[in-house]
Symmetry: D2
Subunit: 276 residues, 4 copies
């Protein structure tokens, strides 16, 4: 599928500020960049070989700075219609570089929700269907409420508050998966049909030797995802981190409309964009 | 029903310590004291008119102190076979002195679990059956595990950890009830058939103009309770509080065997021992 | 000193709502009501004998409701110029009805901050000066930042976040005092010179047989306080609690200007308005 | 300096268990392995290029399993007598692979303790001395108490509880450093003179282009450290992780006595064992 993605962000800087941006689409795995344009202050760039995350670091003097990015992306997802075929990988056979995604992280305290996870999902058949059951549980038990969480909200909080936004849904899904011994990671993304337009957050679980995408929010089709960054949780994948002083919060002017052929139906296939 | 209750506790005091005990059975409402004996250091005593809680305060010099208490108690519970008749009291009609039992407290953060409580129990018919449904949910979703909690564990923690002991079960029941607008309070008690013998914790909900007893642990028959103290939560109803320094924790030597005619079956009636 | 106090609050009710107000000035202890006027929906009223708190309960049909209250109050504080004379009362000599104010509560987890409290304040001379040292520490170590906390914020959170508003400052002061064995309680109040005009929160510590006022915010003179309610913490003393559904949050139209002879200097005396 | 290190651990396995060990000394940077021996079940091994961490994974059938490891290690630390020369690296100049060590992690919620960190340490001269000031503050304000924390305890908890063990001290040091914009990571280690003999935990801060070691516990000389693993926090660097069922917790039979020439004095130099 082919997408047009992009964003525009404005920073009003009060004193010299170092900004680390992570808004550029991945060009690894099943994502092919047909073209892209970045407009903003100069900086140094870095693409992490292991993850495909792309960072851009710049030092902003006081004043107003506008950053815009756009890209044409073609995704070639690996899909498997029969989700029952996508099983879990025994811990003893997981690649070593996948193992860190079993550990608890800042927003995903899988150690503290293990008893619930096993009680609720332990008996289910392992694999894609079990992670899908996790997503269903979250969708049915947590309300999607704008403004109900903030940057300190973790899966532990969301589990009790029973309300959150996309990043909270992803954190909770990751937490349950890890608690069950399924490696899981956070994905920041551009997403088709998201209303209002904003960055999106979903997660990937490592199953059958690949990372499969999951979205407990049901806000957009799972094959309508263009990946920006992967990491343990939102602490690793902020679209922007700054060190300095702003006059007010950054203004997300827009996430550009994604142009893509709309899938006629939401897919119920297992969808993967990367093997590592 | 007639009970023999009692306890023996040993304190090894390192430096002068003020001890406030709250182990004497209530003699208000549906509890009649036929006789009792307290053996231990002299102290001043106080019975709170509003609650019937009985405190004994003593100043212990360094050394070993043994405290023992025994009582013969007859309970005359108000029981109602048809629990459907026991409804909730609208907030607008609650006695003013019951209203504080709607507020969140140290171990019962009803404000933070409100969304879950309404999602899970909001649709159920109000009254005794709804509080019983709360108890059933707790019994089915929380494991009773000795040592899984400590004195800082609150209902918020128990809800996520899904494990606890009697006081945690009571805190969680109180929390859900308050979140739904049902006044609820903590009850420390002697309990029939509790194995191993120890103090017990249950809770009361204010329904139909009385305080009805509930026990989410299912460890003993609800008409096998002899009440010691009522309060907002365990912070109000500790069987002993001390200010000073002990050589090691107090040793609960025993809670005496309760002698009572064993009810042939566990009651499924609504059971109340007090109107205020 | 003589004060004119008052407030106006608007409720836009979506479906029938029970409202419990607690905005009327106390008329016990050192507060004399010279006159007052309440304008709003009819309701039943209750004055708690033990605390002097005054509640007004009303059932509001859908629609807009305006409530206004004004009073002329004369305070006759007990003041002691030599704060060193105001000592702590040994636990063994505290009145029994004061003891509950040593227990941790929803927003004041004195059990969890005990080690810090003893390390920081344990060596100081006991009494009024020690509680004043607590207030000084809070003022110097916690930033007063509007919007930095919400209704779920407890002293535990404020201690780590190091930011809060008046209720958070009061909760932290209460927490440290209780941890040291000094009974302490929350006070909601009208306050002289508060900018912007709003309800205020301070706390009282039980010292030398009386409840002395303390305000760690330094926002208004301590003898410029007109007490509304006392309780364990903000959970007991909300100026309004409602059960039902509003169209948006209640609008605090104003807290009326306090008219009073301005004290020439902020008092540094120990100030008390009540013995129980 | 030359060290003999080692450990013996016993696992009593109830049902087939996958064990991932991480007890082997690093052989990168300033650590030279002169010889080593591992005795235990066969497994697959992995050495992470970026960190030098060494993992050994094995599948244990039911029964008792004894694992022993010993090594001769020579450390060649980079030391700088004048700690004032070791400055902080501006965010704009940090290597990209160091940046993740600025993010909050499971046990190091640097986002939540930022205000305190800046108030307490913000004015100090940046560099090695500032991180040493962090260590001094921890040593002076947190009690080292065996049993005061468990595997769920985070820096946030330690900051309020003011008690902990070596891993808690390390987590708190990391948290403050990150909050100030100094990359910091957890180090599990063998440590000279540790009593009782056990694994140790310290931390590294990235200063002047190298990772410098810090130990807020003052339990052993900083040049008496033999590094095992580095990571974001204890979640990354557990000496053993298992998936399965044990009969009781693993028994740490011993950490072998470290044989080394004892430094005549504890060093006050800046000590580093690695550049990346």
């Amino acid at each position: 599928m082919r997408f047009s993605v992009g964003c525009r962000i404005q920073y009003d800087v009060a004193s010299e500020t170092t900004l680390i941006l992570n808004v550029e689409a991945q060009r690894a795995g099943g994502q092919l960049l047909l073209g892209e344009a970045f407009d903003g202050p100069a900086g140094d760039i870095h693409e992490v070989p292991e993850t495909g995350n792309r960072y851009r670091r710049m030092v902003l003097p006081p004043g107003s700075h506008l950053i815009s990015y756009s890209a044409e992306v073609e995704t070639r997802p690996f899909t498997l219609g029969d989700t029952e075929q996508v099983g879990e990988v025994p811990i003893a056979e997981l690649p070593f570089d996948v193992l860190p995604h079993l550990a608890p992280s800042r927003y995903c305290q899988s150690d503290r929700l293990a008893r619930f996870a096993w009680r609720q999902f332990g008996e289910l058949p392992p694999g894609h269907e079990r992670v899908q059951a996790i997503c269903n549980w979250i969708f049915e038990n947590v309300d999607y409420v704008e403004g109900s969480s903030d940057s300190t909200t973790s899966a532990y909080d969301t589990f009790t508050a029973r309300a959150g936004v996309c990043r909270d849904f992803a954190h909770l899904g990751i937490t349950f998966a890890r608690a069950l011994g399924i490696p899981a990671r956070f994905v920041s993304a551009y997403a088709l049909e998201l209303v209002p337009q904003d960055f999106h957050a979903v997660f990937e679980a490592y199953l059958g030797g690949r990372w499969y995408l999951f979205d407990a929010t049901r806000l957009c089709p799972i094959d309508g995802i263009v990946k920006i960054a992967v990491g343990r949780d939102a602490a690793d994948t902020a679209f922007a981190t700054y060190y300095g002083q702003l006059d007010g919060p950054p203004k997300l002017v827009t996430v550009d409309k994604l142009e893509a052929v709309r899938p006629q139906d939401w897919t119920v296939d297992a969808v993967s964009l990367s093997t590592h």
